[in-house]
C-alpha cells in the first residue's frame, strides 16, 4: 500500500507551483518569436481560441486525472491511467508521464545552469565592452566545454552539476520545498519581468546609433502586434498557435497529474486549473511580449529581429543589449533577466522530478531523499551527453523527441482515455467535484470532440509538415495530383535525418557556391540602390547571413560537424529508447508486486 500522504501546504502555494511548472523560458522566448513568424497581432486570436478549446480542457483533464489518481494512492501517470482505463496496455502508455520529465530535465537543467552562470557573469561585468559578436562568441565558447570562459575549467559542467545538486536538494525536501521555491520564485519572476517590460515599452528610439540608425522599440512592438487578418485563413498560423498553447502550459508531461495527485480529495480543481492557466498566460502575453522583441529592435533594428529572432537571443544577444544601458544598469538588467529565466526554469525542473519520486514512493516505498537523489543521478547520466556533445545535436534530439513529440502523443492518448474510455460524463463529474466555479457545460463537449480533434491535427501536422510549412500550397499540389512534399522538419523526415543529409550534400557540392555568390551580388546591388533606410538595413542583415552561408560551403570543419551529428543523433535516440524501456520494465515490476499483494489493477 502506498505510504505517500504528502499534501500541499496552501492553495496559493499550489497555484504558484502549478503556474511555475507551466511558466518556462518559452514564455519569454518562444511566444514572441512564434507571434512574429505567424501574422503578428493576428496570431493572438488563434492563440486565445486554442487556449480556450485546447489549453483549458487539457488543464481540466490533467488536474482531474491527478486528483482521481491521488485519491487511490497513485501519484504518477502509469497507474493513474491504469485505474481509469481497463486493459493492461494503458499503464505502459502512462510511462510517457515519467519518461518525458526525466528526459526533458536532462537538457532543461543544462539551460537552467546557463542562466545561473550568466547571472554571475552579468554581475561580475564579463560582458562589459564586448561587441555583439563577442557576446555571441562567448556563448559558443561556453557550450564548447573545451574552452574556458572565466579561467574555471569545464565551467559549463560545473554549473550543470551545481544546478542539478540544487534541484535534487530542493526535491529531497518534498512538496514543501517545491512550494517554498514557487512562493519566492514566481513573485520575483513577475517583478523582474515587469521591470524589463517597462524598459521595453519606454525604450522608443533612444537606442538608435550610427551603426543602427533605424533602431526603434516601436518597430518591434508594431511588428509583434499589428494585426494581419489575412493570416487567419492560413492553417500554418493555427497550427503554430495550437503548438504554442500546448507547450506553454506544460500539458502532456505528467507533471500536472502528479501535482494534482497531492490535492485533497474533495478540494477544488476547476478554479485552480483555470487560475494557474491564466497566470501562465499573463506572464506570456503581457510580460513575454514586451521584453525580447522590443528591446532587440530598439538597439539592433527591426530588420535584425526579422532575420534573427530565435531562442538563442536570450544568451547571445540580450547581454550585449543590456550593456547599452551603462555598467550598473546592465548588471541589474542581467541579474533580472537571467534571474527571471532561472526562476522560470527551476520551478519547471522541480516539477519534472516529482512524477519519478511519486512513482517510486507509491510502488517501491522509496523515501523522499532516495527518490530525489536517484532522480538527480539518472538526470546526470542522461544529461552529460547533452553537455559534452551539445554541438553534435544530442541536446536538440532530446528536445525534439522527448520535449516535443512525446508530449503531443501522450496528450492525445490521455484525452482519449479521459473522454472516451473513462467516459466524458464521469470525467465531467470528476472535474466538478468540489469545484469553486461553475464551468460552462459546453466544455464537456469541447473535451469530448474539439480537444482530441485539435490534438490529432497537431500530431498529424507534425508528422507530415509540408515543405516550407506551406499548407495551402501543398493542398493545391495534392488537388492537382502533384503529391505532398514533406518538410525536413516533419517527424517522418526527422527520422531519417533528411535535413542534415541535405545540408551535407549542399555543403559538399561546389556548384552551390556560384549560385550563393550570385545571390550575394544581387543583395549588394539592391543595398546600393535602396533609398529606404529600413529596407537597406534588412538587406544588409540578409547579406551578412548569406556570407555566413557562403563560408560554410566546402568548409571541412562544418562538414565534419554535420557528419558527427549523424553519428551522435542515433546514440541520443538509443539513450532515450533505453530510458523508456527501463521505465516500462519498472512499471511491469510494480505490476507484479501489486498482483502479489492483491492490490487493485486490471
Amino acid at each position: 500500500m502506498s505510504k505517500n500522504k504528502e499534501a500541499w501546504g496552501s492553495r496559493v502555494g499550489l497555484i504558484l507551483a502549478m503556474a511555475g511548472n507551466a511558466v518556462g523560458l518559452g514564455n519569454f522566448l518562444r511566444f514572441p518569436v512564434q507571434a512574429v513568424q505567424n501574422g503578428g497581432g493576428a496570431f493572438i486570436i488563434p492563440y486565445l481560441v486554442c487556449f480556450l478549446v485546447m489549453g483549458i480542457p487539457l488543464l481540466l483533464i490533467e488536474w482531474s486525472m491527478g486528483r482521481y489518481g491521488g485519491r487511490q494512492g497513485n501519484h504518477s501517470t502509469p497507474y493513474i491511467l491504469d485505474t481509469m482505463a481497463k486493459g493492461r496496455l494503458w499503464k505502459y502508455i502512462g510511462v510517457f508521464g515519467i519518461f518525458t520529465n526525466i528526459a526533458v530535465a536532462a537538457y532543461y537543467c543544462y539551460i537552467e545552469s546557463w542562466t545561473m552562470s550568466y547571472v554571475f557573469h552579468s554581475i561580475g561585468g564579463t560582458f562589459v565592452g564586448m561587441t555583439q559578436g563577442e557576446v555571441a562568441g562567448f556563448f559558443n565558447d561556453y557550450v564548447d566545454i573545451g574552452v574556458s570562459t572565466t579561467g574555471i575549467p569545464y565551467e559549463a559542467v560545473i554549473f550543470y552539476l551545481l544546478c542539478l545538486a540544487l534541484n535534487t536538494w530542493i526535491l529531497s525536501r518534498g512538496l514543501s520545498g517545491v512550494e517554498k521555491v514557487a512562493k519566492i520564485g514566481m513573485p520575483l519572476l513577475i517583478l523582474f519581468g515587469a521591470f524589463l517590460a517597462i524598459r521595453g515599452l519606454t525604450l522608443g528610439e533612444s537606442g538608435a546609433t550610427p551603426e543602427h540608425p533605424t533602431a526603434s522599440a516601436w518597430d518591434g512592438l508594431n511588428f509583434l502586434w499589428t494585426p494581419e487578418f489575412d493570416s487567419l485563413t492560413n492553417p500554418k498560423v493555427w497550427m503554430a498557435a495550437a503548438g504554442q498553447i500546448f507547450f506553454t502550459l506544460s500539458v502532456g508531461m505528467g507533471t500536472i497529474h502528479c501535482y494534482a495527485a497531492y490535492v485533497r480529495s474533495k478540494d477544488d480543481i476547476a478554479l485552480n486549473g483555470v487560475a494557474a492557466g491564466f497566470m501562465n498566460e499573463f506572464v506570456e502575453v503581457v510580460l513575454g511580449s514586451l521584453v525580447v522583441i522590443p528591446i532587440a529592435a530598439g538597439y539592433l533594428g527591426i530588420a535584425w529581429v526579422q532575420e534573427n529572432a530565435s531562442f538563442g537571443m536570450a544568451f547571445q544577444t540580450m547581454p550585449y543589449l543590456f550593456q547599452q544601458w551603462g555598467t550598473t544598469l546592465a548588471a541589474i538588467a542581467g541579474l533580472f533577466w537571467f534571474g527571471l529565466l532561472f526562476f522560470a526554469g527551476i520551478t519547471s525542473s522541480l516539477a519534472m522530478g516529482t512524477p519519478w519520486m511519486g512513482f517510486m514512493r507509491d510502488e517501491f516505498n522509496w523515501g523522499r531523499s532516495k527518490g530525489a537523489i536517484s532522480f538527480g543521478l539518472i538526470v546526470l547520466a542522461l544529461g552529460m551527453p547533452t553537455v559534452l556533445f551539445y554541438n553534435y545535436g544530442v541536446f536538440d534530439e532530446y528536445d525534439y523527441w522527448a520535449g516535443t513529440v512525446s508530449l503531443v502523443v501522450f496528450a492525445l492518448l490521455e484525452t482519449i482515455v479521459f473522454a472516451w474510455i473513462f467516459g466524458v460524463d464521469k470525467g465531467w463529474d470528476e472535474i466538478n467535484l468540489g469545484a469553486d466555479i461553475k464551468l460552462p457545460v459546453v466544455f464537456k463537449y469541447v473535451i469530448k470532440w474539439i480537444t482530441p480533434m485539435l490534438l490529432l491535427f497537431v500530431f498529424v501536422g507534425s508528422l507530415i509538415t509540408p515543405k516550407g510549412n506551406e499548407w495551402q500550397e501543398q493542398f493545391t499540389n495534392l488537388g492537382n495530383g502533384k503529391g505532398w512534399e514533406l518538410d525536413n522538419s516533419s517527424i517522418i523526415k526527422q527520422l531519417s535525418n533528411a535535413g542534415i543529409k541535405a545540408e551535407i550534400v549542399s555543403a559538399q557540392d561546389p556548384a552551390t557556391l556560384p549560385a550563393l555568390q550570385q545571390e550575394a551580388e544581387e543583395l549588394r546591388a539592391s543595398i546600393t540602390t535602396a533609398t529606404d533606410l529600413k529596407e537597406k538595413a534588412l538587406l544588409e542583415v540578409r547579406l551578412e547571413k548569406k556570407m555566413g552561408r557562403i563560408n560554410q560551403v566546402s568548409d571541412p570543419g562544418y562538414i565534419d560537424l554535420l557528419n558527427k551529428k549523424l553519428t551522435y543523433i542515433p546514440i541520443a535516440r538509443f539513450i532515450l529508447l533505453a530510458l523508456f524501456l527501463g521505465l516500462a520494465s519498472l512499471v511491469y515490476t510494480a505490476y507484479k508486486i501489486r498482483v502479489k499483494q492483491g492490490r487493485n489493477t486490471p
Binding site: M1, S2, K5, A7, R11, V12, I15, G40, G41, I44, L48, G70, R71, Q72, G73, N74, W218, L221, N222, L224, W225, T226, P227, R264, S265, K266, D267, D268, L271, N272, V274, A275, F278, M279, E281, F282, V285, V286, S289, D362, G434, D436, I437, R599, N600
Partner: protein
C-alpha cells in the same frame, strides 16, 4: 507605435490580465475546506 498595433496589444493584454487577476483573487478568497483524508490505497 501604430494605432492598430496599439489597440490589439492593449485589448489582448488587458483581457488576459483581468482574467488572471480575477481568478487569482477568487482562489485567494475561497474558503478553506475541511482538511480531509487520503483514503488508504487499495
Amino acid at each position: 507605435m501604430n494605432t492598430s498595433a496599439l489597440i490589439t496589444m492593449v485589448l489582448a493584454q488587458v483581457t488576459v490580465t483581468c482574467f488572471a487577476v480575477y481568478f487569482f483573487i477568487k482562489v485567494y478568497n475561497a474558503p478553506n475546506k475541511d482538511a480531509d483524508d487520503f483514503p488508504p490505497g487499495p
